[in-house]
């Protein structure tokens, strides 16, 4: 038979566990509720037309968000191509070449940039690309999103590269392999999964960014044919449709939101799968 004190401790322990579980559920519940609400509101509008047709003029029923879905993917691709190389090379510098003082300056700068509201990046894109070009374009949208990606990728790259044990660097140096080859063929290769994780995470962040593309890519009701043309993207399309007075467009906005959240979910899931498969 347990003493009174032991009984009290058991009770207290049980209570704390229950409290912790309750708090965890409290956090997860809104997520689940939002997701199921989106599912309920948007699922009915998800049909073949939604994924393949262009938006119809306001007031007309039907049409879809095909161009917006493709546009989001196109913007992500542009931002990736333009942003990731800078981020990774910056991360390599911090990890392999930098000095103490300059590294802390760079890190501080990257952290500040990571906290910049995305609408500011939209204005930067506007000032740097849209104004000189004289028009809204997919390219400017990609650039604005790339600006968001660069500090994120830089930090995650550095964190991953620093984790590569020094013994590999030493072993490679002792073999007389040139420094840059050590970095590319050995260190980057060892850290590859971590690098991909960092890129996917930043992609997930920019997938849903609306403000930067408002002033740069603008949105469109047609397919995008060139980098110099405006481009439709899911977040913008959702925005325009959600505030529109037409029911059909509102319903499509729900569907678009559902697709967008599924996209982000897919990206996060791949990050998880990649991380768990890490063999060490």
């Amino acid at each position: 038979m347990l003493s009174h004190y032991d009984q009290y401790r058991k009770l207290k322990s049980g209570f704390m566990s229950a409290l912790a579980i309750f708090c965890a559920l409290l956090v997860v519940l809104p997520l689940i509720l939002v997701f199921f609400y989106l599912l309920k509101m948007g699922f009915s509008s998800l049909n073949w037309n939604f994924f393949t047709k262009l938006p119809k003029p306001a007031g007309e029923e039907g049409g879809g968000m095909a161009n917006a879905i493709v546009g989001t993917l196109e913007l992500m691709g542009l931002a990736l191509v333009m942003g990731v190389p800078f981020g990774i090379m910056g991360g390599i510098y911090l990890s392999e070449y930098g000095g103490e003082k300059i590294n802390s300056c760079i890190r501080f700068g990257a952290d500040v940039l990571n906290g910049v509201p995305s609408i500011v990046w939209g204005l930067v894109g506007y000032a740097l690309v849209v104004m000189p070009m004289g028009g809204y374009s997919a390219l400017s949208g990609g650039i604005a999103l790339a600006f968001i990606m660069i500090p994120m990728v830089l930090r995650t790259t550095e964190e991953v590269l620093v984790l590569v044990p020094n013994s590999y660097r030493e072993a490679a140096m002792a073999l007389g392999i040139p420094r840059w080859k050590i970095t590319t063929s050995i260190i980057l290769r060892t850290a590859f999964k971590g690098l991909v994780t960092g890129v996917l995470l930043s992609l997930g962040r920019i997938a849903g960014e609306t403000a930067p593309i408002l002033f740069t890519a603008l949105g469109s009701t047609d397919w995008n044919h060139s980098l110099k043309e405006p481009l439709a993207a899911l977040p913008i399309q959702i925005y325009y449709y959600a505030i529109s007075p037409f029911d059909d467009q509102n319903r499509q906005a729900w569907a678009g939101a559902l697709v967008l959240i599924l996209l982000v979910f897919l990206l996060s899931a791949s990050v998880r799968i990649l991380s768990s498969r890490r063999s060490k």
């Binding site: 013994s167 590999y168 030493e170 002792a174 073999l175 007389g176 392999i177 050995i186 290769r189 060892t190």
Partner: protein, 296 residues
Amino acid sequence: MNPVITKKTFSMSDQVKPATSPTSASASVAGSAPSSTPAPAVVPPGVAFDIQDLSIFYGKHQAIKNVSIKIPASSVTAIIGPSGCGKSTALRALNRMHELTPGARHTGKILMKGEDLYGPGVDATLVRRRVGMIFQKSNPFPTLTIAENVLVGLRLNGVRDKTLLSRRLEESLRMAALWDEVKDHLNRPGTGLSGGQQQRLCIARALAVRPEIILMDEPCSALDPIATAKVEELIHSLKTEYTVVIVTHNMQQAARVSENTAFFYMGSLIEFGPTEQIFMNPKNPQTEAYVSGRFG
């Protein structure tokens, strides 16, 4: 002086196959007391490293104090001494690895076969291709297979010839006494081997680039006695073609594998001479105290 390590200790534990007892037949075993004689114009035959008045500093701390030594070629030289005496630092200076530590600098000269290792315009990377190094903890590259690990030094230096590569692969693994054990699974990851096998893999990897000199920094300290014996056999077989400099805190190992031994203490070279003489008849009282186990 009483012989403090008898002939019997040379063939130590029964698990270890006794190596042939070290001969003092190697050429020019000069340079015992720390002195600062300038380099002669003619390089005596059979000297791998001519170290002249070397001092190494890490920031303000002086790790190596005015060491002069001539390490003979085609033989095994052991560096012994208590922890922190600078053995590893001295070893790393021989292939310019100590430069990787921030704040490291040196004074003095190291001539490798007559060429100044630290001369102006000498590329450290090229030095390291001629002077290989094996580390205390084996470090095969994790993303590479066994075959890729062995050949990485060649491949990343631009060698593409497939016949040359496969020949080197087999030669290096045979020299490292690992070929029979891994020849059927060359495509397995390098980290899938046991500790002793990994260390031999690292040795094969270092041998594949055909360095002239091999430095070993306590290569057996993380290995069990049987693996240690295999590595020591391997060192023995290397000495005809290569010069080996091995740092070890295991005196019996030094006695087993080396022809000449250098005793370091607190950054200075205390004594250098034929192994048998260092262990059986040391000239310096500090050496005698160390090898007889009175300190360190």
